[in-house]
C-alpha cells in the first residue's frame, strides 16, 4: 500500500514529530504573558496532567539519585577530597615559580591550561558572530543626528560622575589579573557593563556611531588573533624544547608573569566587546 502509493507519488501524509515534551501544557492558570492567552486558559487535558506529573517524578528520581551518588563521594570541605591531589599541590607550590603569577587561578588558566581559555574566547567570538548574523540589519539605519534618546536626567548625571571610575576599575582589574583576584574575564565584564551603562544613559545611537558592529568585530578578531599567535608561538617553542618566554620580571610587579599580562588584555577586550555587542545587537533593533 505504502509502496504503491509512493511510487505513484500520491502520498501526502505529514507526521507530527515535534516532541510533546517541548510543548507541555502549562498548568498555571494565572499566566501573565505578553500576548493574549485566551486559548491557553481552560485547556486542561488529563493526559497532559499525567505527563506533567511524570516529569516531576522523573525530576525527583534524578535528584535523589544524585544525592545518593554524592553520599559516596568525599564530603564538602573535607581535606582528603581528591581535588587536593598532586595537581593542586604543584599549582600552589610552584605556581609562582613556573608562571610568575601571584593569583594562582590566573596562572592556571593562562599558563597551565591556556588552551581551555583559548577555547573559551572562541566561544565568545562564535556567539557574537551568531548574534550579529541573526540580528544584523540588512540596511543600516540612518542615524537621527545622534540625539539623546532618553530623558533620564538622574541616570545621565550619575553616569557622568561614575563612568570614569568604573572604567579605571575595569582597566585595573584587567591589568592586575596576575597579582590579585580579577583578570581578563572580570575586568572585561566591568568594562562591558560600563559601555552598556553609557549606552543606556546617553542613547545607543551615540555609542554605536563610534562602536559600529564592524569595529567591534575588528577589535575582537584582532585581540583573538594576538592571543592565538602568542599561544601558538608558546606551544611550538615548548614542543621544540626551548624556553623562549620572556623573563618573568619581578614577582609582584605589573611587568611580570611572562605572557599572562598580554593574554589578560586580549581576553579583557574580547569579553567587554562581546558583552557590549550582545547589548548593541538587541538595542539597535529598538531604534
Amino acid at each position: 500500500m505504502f509502496l504503491k502509493l509512493w511510487i505513484d507519488g500520491d502520498i501526502s501524509t505529514y507526521d507530527e514529530s515535534y516532541s510533546p515534551l517541548l510543548a507541555m501544557d502549562d498548568l498555571d492558570e494565572n499566566t501573565d504573558t505578553f500576548d493574549s492567552e485566551s486559548r491557553h486558559v481552560g485547556k486542561k487535558n488529563p493526559s497532559h496532567r499525567i505527563l506533567y506529573f511524570a516529569v516531576i517524578l522523573a525530576g525527583i528520581v534524578l535528584v535523589s539519585q544524585l544525592i545518593l551518588t554524592s553520599y559516596f563521594m568525599p564530603r564538602f570541605a573535607s581535606p582528603d577530597s581528591p581535588v587536593n591531589n598532586e595537581v593542586t599541590a604543584r599549582y600552589v607550590k610552584d605556581g609562582v615559580r613556573d608562571t610568575g603569577a601571584i593569583n594562582a587561578v590566573s596562572g592556571m588558566i593562562f599558563d597551565y591550561r591556556a588552551f581551555d581559555t583559548f577555547g573559551e574566547s572562541t566561544v565568545l567570538f562564535s556567539a557574537t558572530v551568531f548574534v550579529l548574523m541573526l540580528l544584523g540589519r540588512s540596511k543600516p539605519k540612518k542615524s537621527r543626528g545622534l540625539s539623546l534618546k532618553s530623558n533620564d536626567q538622574m541616570l545621565r548625571s550619575t553616569v557622568s560622575v561614575f563612568a570614569p571610575f568604573i572604567t579605571v576599575f575595569g582597566v585595573y582589574l584587567v591589568l592586575n589579573g596576575h597579582l590579585s583576584p580579577g583578570g581578563g574575564f572580570a575586568g572585561g565584564t566591568v568594562l562591558g557593563a560600563m559601555l552598556i551603562l553609557i549606552s543606556a544613559a546617553y542613547g545607543h545611537a551615540r555609542v554605536s556611531a563610534f562602536l559600529t558592529s564592524y569595529l567591534i568585530s575588528l577589535l575582537m578578531s584582532f585581540a583573538l588573533l594576538v592571543y592565538a599567535l602568542i599561544k601558538a608561538f608558546a606551544f611550538v617553542s615548548a614542543a621544540v624544547g626551548e624556553n623562549l618566554l620572556p623573563v618573568h620580571g619581578n614577582i609582584g610587579s605589573i611587568y611580570s608573569a611572562g605572557f599572562i599580562l598580554p593574554l589578560n588584555i586580549c581576553v579583557g577586550i574580547v569579553v567587554s566587546l562581546t558583552v557590549f555587542a550582545f547589548y548593541s545587537a538587541f538595542a539597535a533593533l529598538d531604534e
Binding site: M24, E37, I60, F76, R97, D116, V123, I251, L285
Partner: protein
C-alpha cells in the same frame, strides 16, 4: 542523618536547582521561561563545581611567595572550571535570546507550541 544533610547542603541545593532548571527548560512553553530555566541549570552546575573546590580552613589561592604551602590554599582548578563555564553559559543564553527575538518577530508569539504549529503549517504549504 540530619548531620549528613547539613554537611551536603551545597550539593543537595545544586541538584535541586539543576532539576528545577532542567524541567523548566524542557517542559515550559514560554520561551523566556525556558531561557531562565537554562540559566538556573547552568548556575546549579557552577555551584556544584565551586563547592567541590572548598576545603575547610583554607583561603583563596593568592599566593604570598614562591613555595607556598599547599595545605593553606584551596585548589585553583575548580575556580578555573567555573570561570570557563560561566562564559560558555553567557554565550548560549545570548544565542537563545537572539533566536527568541527572531521567532517573536516572525510569528508574533512567545509560546513554543503555537510557533511550532505555525511552522509546520509553513512546511506543509511549501
Amino acid at each position: 542523618m540530619i548531620n549528613t544533610v547539613i554537611e551536603m547542603r551545597y550539593e543537595i541545593a545544586s541538584f535541586i536547582l539543576f532539576a528545577i532548571g532542567l524541567i523548566c527548560l524542557i517542559t515550559d512553553k514560554h520561551l523566556i521561561k525556558k531561557i531562565i530555566g537554562a540559566g538556573i541549570m547552568d548556575s546549579a552546575l557552577f555551584l556544584y563545581l565551586a563547592a567541590g573546590g572548598y576545603t575547610a580552613g583554607r583561603v583563596a589561592p593568592i599566593l604570598a611567595a614562591p613555595g607556598a604551602d599547599p595545605g593553606k590554599y584551596i585548589s585553583p582548578v575548580p575556580s578555573g572550571l567555573v570561570l570557563t563555564g560561566i562564559v560558555v553559559s553567557v554565550s548560549t543564553l545570548a544565542a537563545l535570546l537572539a533566536l527568541t527575538y527572531s521567532l517573536n518577530k516572525k510569528y508574533g508569539t512567545m509560546m513554543i507550541d503555537e510557533i511550532i504549529e505555525k511552522a509546520k503549517q509553513e512546511v506543509k504549504d511549501s
